[in-house]
Symmetry: C2
Subunit: 282 residues, 2 copies
């Protein structure tokens, strides 16, 4: 496994891979790798000849009041996990090389980036779209691997890839959860023991919603109210949003009679957690 | 010469070119080709194994009050010129395939896009950056050829390429002029005979400025005043801006003691023309 810090060097190196018609699978991460990331890396390995993982805590996607500085950076452990997962190349740039003096170009996905998580995190998805555009140009992968937990992010990146004609396929893989249901997230380390118990309310709320739908409930607002009621019982939980949206434009739907997604953002103490589940028909 | 309308098809076709390590030179145009474009195409041919020209009148770079509908589209002649200039592939998409329903992603180069031509054409350079990002992803050229006449555009595209890590080199080639000095532009066809004579004041103003500098004038505002005075004598001419700026950030400079650019935008009747000249030291 090689660790490369320079974007130009990585791009040149991968040019050789592309010329020999070997496929490249790419997993962009902010490090603090957990089994969710590893499931992406393993799938990338099954699908491709070469696996590239980037580890970069991207400053442009953090708000000024957010956790950029305290975001976990267990680099040694991350590199060991990558090695064990048979990653070929780790891209490990620093902020100065990604955003040098005079940097001025941003990629913005309109509307999709302003709703749901975008409401309480203005500018977040602009930062995400910009860094992913940069990474796609540097790595030029055949397939990009993303996790379903960051559902809005996946939809926005898919829109950007289509709109800007990036020649790459996307695979979005299922959220990996603890046995108790908690969706894995690098931010779970912020939770104390009590909060970890309260945080279970997110996945429980999604299970409740699913079971209501299974029993014939089709009224989105009723489902949302039941979710809010359940989460409201937890003292440390403060709801950011509960929404049921279509899968492409992320617009709130009223009736559950099409493929859709139930998504939540809840603050447990100071830690903002998100989770979602897909409802699909065929 | 092949004419291709589908972005995906062009991208797949060029993948073969890249795999065989043949280099691709790319000239993006809005058609209405003149010897300025042809100089770019010829240079692309000298430098590369494969030459790709795009012809696309990009709607997102036109303001609502601008000349999108009447912009010249002499397609037959353009294709004949491309064939004669030994272009390998012409990319000829339509607006619907470039901006399908739901399109929402824009690339914006901050600050650089808001000054000079950006002041009177808000959104113009966002449209330019967006379409060039799309074209670069579709064609993935080794070298991108641009004309010095659209100087601000070149600076903005260079900034975007650097910021978003597009793996492409830029070559900016000198403005091609008529014998009388008028910079070639597809918009010159809008001028009547009287206006064609008045339009010569742009290049004459630049010559005046150069000669002032050659004779030791270093005060930018004095040079600008002399230019304004000269242009002011033409009844049909209305100055949009006259500026002397540095070459990277396009900030106005006070003293001519560094590499810089004198740039003009002048309306002759209803036709907005631009021109510029470089002042370089070594």
């Amino acid at each position: 496994m090689r660790v490369i810090r320079d974007p130009g060097k990585l791009n040149r190196l991968l040019k050789g891979v592309r010329r020999s018609a070997r496929s490249i699978g790419f997993v962009p991460t902010m490090g603090a790798l957990h089994p969710g990331h590893l499931s992406l890396i393993k799938q990338a390995g099954r699908d491709n000849d070469t696996v590239v993982v980037s580890i970069f805590v991207n400053p442009t996607q953090f708000g000024s009041q957010e956790d950029l500085n305290k975001y976990p950076r267990p680099l040694k452990n991350d590199l060991a996990l990558c090695r064990k997962a048979r990653v070929d190349l780790v891209f490990l740039p620093d902020s100065k090389i990604m955003y040098p003096e005079g940097f001025a170009t941003f990629v913005n996905v309109e509307k999709l980036g302003d709703i749901l998580c975008g409401t309480s995190r203005p500018g977040h998805f602009r930062g995400v779209a910009t860094v992913v555009a940069k990474l796609l140009n540097i790595v030029a992968p055949d397939v990009l691997y993303l996790g379903q937990k960051d559902a809005q992010q996946s939809v926005i990146i898919a829109r950007m890839i289509k709109d800007l004609n990036f020649p790459v396929k996307i695979r979005v893989l299922p959220t990996v959860r603890q046995k108790d249901g908690l969706a894995l997230s690098s931010r779970n380390v912020y939770l104390n023991e009590d909060q970890k118990l309260d945080a279970l309310v997110l996945s429980k709320a999604l299970c409740l919603a699913k079971s209501l739908i299974d029993h014939g409930q089709t009224d989105a607002s009723r489902i949302i109210n039941r979710i809010k009621e359940l989460i409201g019982k937890k003292k440390q939980a403060r709801i950011d949003y509960v929404a049921i949206v279509d899968l492409e434009k992320l617009r709130q739907i009223k009736k559950i009679n099409q493929d859709c997604m139930i998504c939540l953002a809840v603050k447990i103490g100071k830690t903002r957690l998100i989770d979602n589940c897909l409802i699909t028909y065929d």
